[in-house]
């Protein structure tokens, strides 16, 4: 099912949690709502589920306007961060609960519950209570309960944040597998960029209630729309070198470092910019435009993580270990085509 968010705004008493948010999410995709805490992603999810009313704008499921529909009529499944399993019911009772409210006959209920339990691998736990399950198992049961009624849309609110690191990896692959098996359109809220990058078809990145970019994961990384997107994605974080453009060259704040490159041509003189470069986008080049000094070197096997100084600016880069960099070396670096951006320092807008 296609989900259309049409100029959605949510105002609470004194804050605007989501403002003028528009996006279209494609049928059958797994979409991540990504952003730092407090960016309004959970608020958006709650508006999709009908828990929170919208202040402005409309929500469409396919062509149906669901903006005013109560949660139970939207045909969605929702998995909460704390799973929200009914503690007094067994796993089977939990999975059957949504079907009971729909008055599905008992035999069909059991058949569907067993089928979905097999899919999420909890079929051997049917008679346990939630307190007797591990975090990962509770998570699976919660997903089974959300899926058993064949929802049009599956919403997952930070489903992995209560799990330990190893389980998180396992469950995120599980969620991907289950989503692909059922083909249900899924929206997944997370603040973990790595999680989002690894499992989603599309990522919707938000900041302070405003949509930053809605794109394919690799596009978010390779073609960030603005400074925030570039900063948010990537580990280690992108290097930001603050400076000013003058005569087609980039000059660091203190004026100690000068980079003359075609990249800066066409940018107005005196414009304050950030030269933002991913750590993997530097290469050693005797004729390169960046004259730097090596300040630290960390061995990382095949590659080294080296820290450089350009004028007064520090940055880090992955360099082939064979180059044998030593602290104090003066070297020249060049920039690759990929992973090099120029942002306006005041507005964060992408220039190049």
């Amino acid at each position: 099912m296609r989900v259309v968010l049409d100029h959605i705004t949510k105002r609470f008493a004194d804050v605007t949690a989501v403002s003028d948010f528009s996006a279209t999410l494609n049928d059958g995709e797994l979409v991540c709502l990504l952003g730092p805490s407090g960016c309004g992603k959970s608020t958006l999810l709650n508006m999709l589920s009908g828990i929170l009313p919208v202040s402005d704008g409309k929500i469409f499921f396919d062509d149906e306007d669901v903006t005013m529909l109560p949660p139970e009529q939207r045909g969605i499944g929702l998995v909460f961060q704390n799973y929200a399993l009914y503690p007094h019911m067994t796993v089977l009772g939990n999975i059957c609960f949504p079907l009971e409210t729909q008055h599905v006959p008992k035999e069909e209920r059991l058949a569907r519950a067993n089928e979905i339990a097999k899919l999420v691998h909890v079929d051997m736990l049917m008679n346990r209570r939630p307190a007797e399950l591990s975090g990962g198992q509770q998570q699976r049961v919660a997903i089974a309960r959300a899926l058993v009624k064949n929802p049009r849309l599956l919403l997952l609110d930070e489903p992995l944040s209560n799990l330990d690191a190893r389980l998180r990896l396992e469950m995120r692959e599980e969620i991907r597998r289950i989503q692909q098996r059922t083909g249900v359109t899924t929206i997944f809220v997370t603040h973990d960029q790595e999680e989002a990058m690894s499992i989603s078809d599309h990522i919707v990145l938000m900041k302070l209630g405003v949509l930053q970019q809605n794109d394919l994961p690799q596009n978010l990384y390779n073609e960030p729309a603005n400074q925030f997107v570039a900063d948010f994605l990537g580990n280690p974080p992108i290097n930001n070198l603050p400076g000013t453009v003058s005569g087609g060259a980039f000059i660091t704040e203190e004026g100690d470092g000068v980079v003359k490159m075609p990249l800066f041509e066409g940018i107005a003189d005196g414009r304050k910019v950030n030269l933002s470069v991913r750590s993997e986008s530097f290469v050693l080049d005797p004729d390169g435009p960046l004259a730097c000094e090596v300040t630290r070197v960390y061995q990382m096997g095949k590659e080294e993580m080296a820290y450089f100084k350009l004028g007064e600016c520090d940055f880090r880069a992955y360099i082939d270990a064979d180059e044998g960099l030593k602290v104090g070396n003066r070297v020249r670096l060049n920039l690759k085509k990929r992973g090099v951006f120029v942002f306006d320092r005041e507005t964060g807008e992408r220039i190049k």
């Binding site: 828990i51 499944g77 929702l78 909460f80 929200a84 009914y86 007094h88 609960f97 409210t101």
Partner: protein, 273 residues
């Protein structure tokens, strides 16, 4: 050394307290076996000279205790059932539903808890008389079909349940009604056990109100029925003690079994989960 001494003091106080609490029960129990002469002797004897069930037989012959017992059970079951039902609904409304003045209404209800029941006896009495229910069993039930205290305990429990359970149930297609009975009430079983037990004890022991609104023998409950030994047939303290023993024993047994639920539930309700 100092520690041992303070421990000694603490136990001394506790033991004295226990003796003071238990003495009336002890006296009731031993007096139930005494003869009329023994009970009127001064200074009193601690123990009866010989054990006989004579007092019990006489007491049961003097008043229709079986009838009183049935009345007590009817009143207890009805008032506990109704109070529990209304408390559950009210607690859910105050905990989950949004309506104007919700907190103001709840605060004023809690403030009403400070008015003792004795203050309301006269108005309740005229209400019961106006309704034509004087000297009937409903007169014993009607004023006790809701309770602010139990509502308060239950609301505190309901408040401690995560919102996500509610929304999960709503998204799974449950109405408020279904959510309340299928999810909240089963989860609240410990708190419910507590309020049901407290309420049952209070109803079973209720004396003053039945004394005002019940006059005929057929409609008396056990505590009010015991009065038969001092008012209508003269004073027979040894028979009164025998009958009281029979009335009190089931309650004591119930309390001993349920003690931990009562204490736990009240502490839990007060502490918000």
């Amino acid at each position: 050394m100092e520690r041992k001494f303070s421990k000694f003091l603490i136990y001394l106080v506790l033991i004295l307290g226990a003796i003071i609490m238990l003495l009336p029960f002890f006296w009731m129990f031993t007096s139930a076996f005494k003869t009329t002469q023994e009970i009127n002797r001064f200074p009193p004897d601690m123990f009866p000279s010989h054990i006989s069930l004579n007092n019990f037989q006489r007491a049961f012959a003097m008043a229709p205790f079986a009838k009183y017992f049935v009345n007590s059970v009817i009143v207890m079951v009805c008032s506990v059932g109704l109070t529990t039902f209304t408390s559950i609904l009210a607690a859910f409304a105050f905990s989950r539903l949004r309506f104007p003045g919700r907190n103001a209404i709840f605060s004023s209800l809690v403030a009403l808890m400070m008015i003792p029941f004795e203050m309301l006896i006269i108005t309740n009495y005229t209400t019961i008389v106006d309704l034509g229910l004087w000297d009937t069993l409903p007169a014993l039930i009607l004023p006790f079909t809701s309770s602010i205290f139990y509502t308060y305990i239950l609301r505190n429990f309901f408040d401690s349940v995560s919102d996500s359970l509610y929304w999960s149930a709503r998204i799974d297609g449950s109405s408020n009604w279904r959510y309340l009975w299928k999810v909240m009430v089963p989860m609240a079983r410990p708190s419910l056990t507590t309020i049901i037990l407290l309420n049952a004890l209070a109803s079973w022991n209720s004396f003053m109100w039945p004394m005002y609104v019940i006059s005929s023998d057929a409609n008396r409950t056990l505590p009010w029925g015991l009065q038969v030994f001092t008012t209508e047939a003269g004073s027979y303290p040894e028979l009164l003690m025998a009958a009281s023993t029979v009335v009190v024993v089931p309650v004591i047994i119930l309390f001993l079994f349920a003690r931990k639920y009562i204490v736990r539930g009240v502490a839990r309700g007060g502490l918000k989960g």
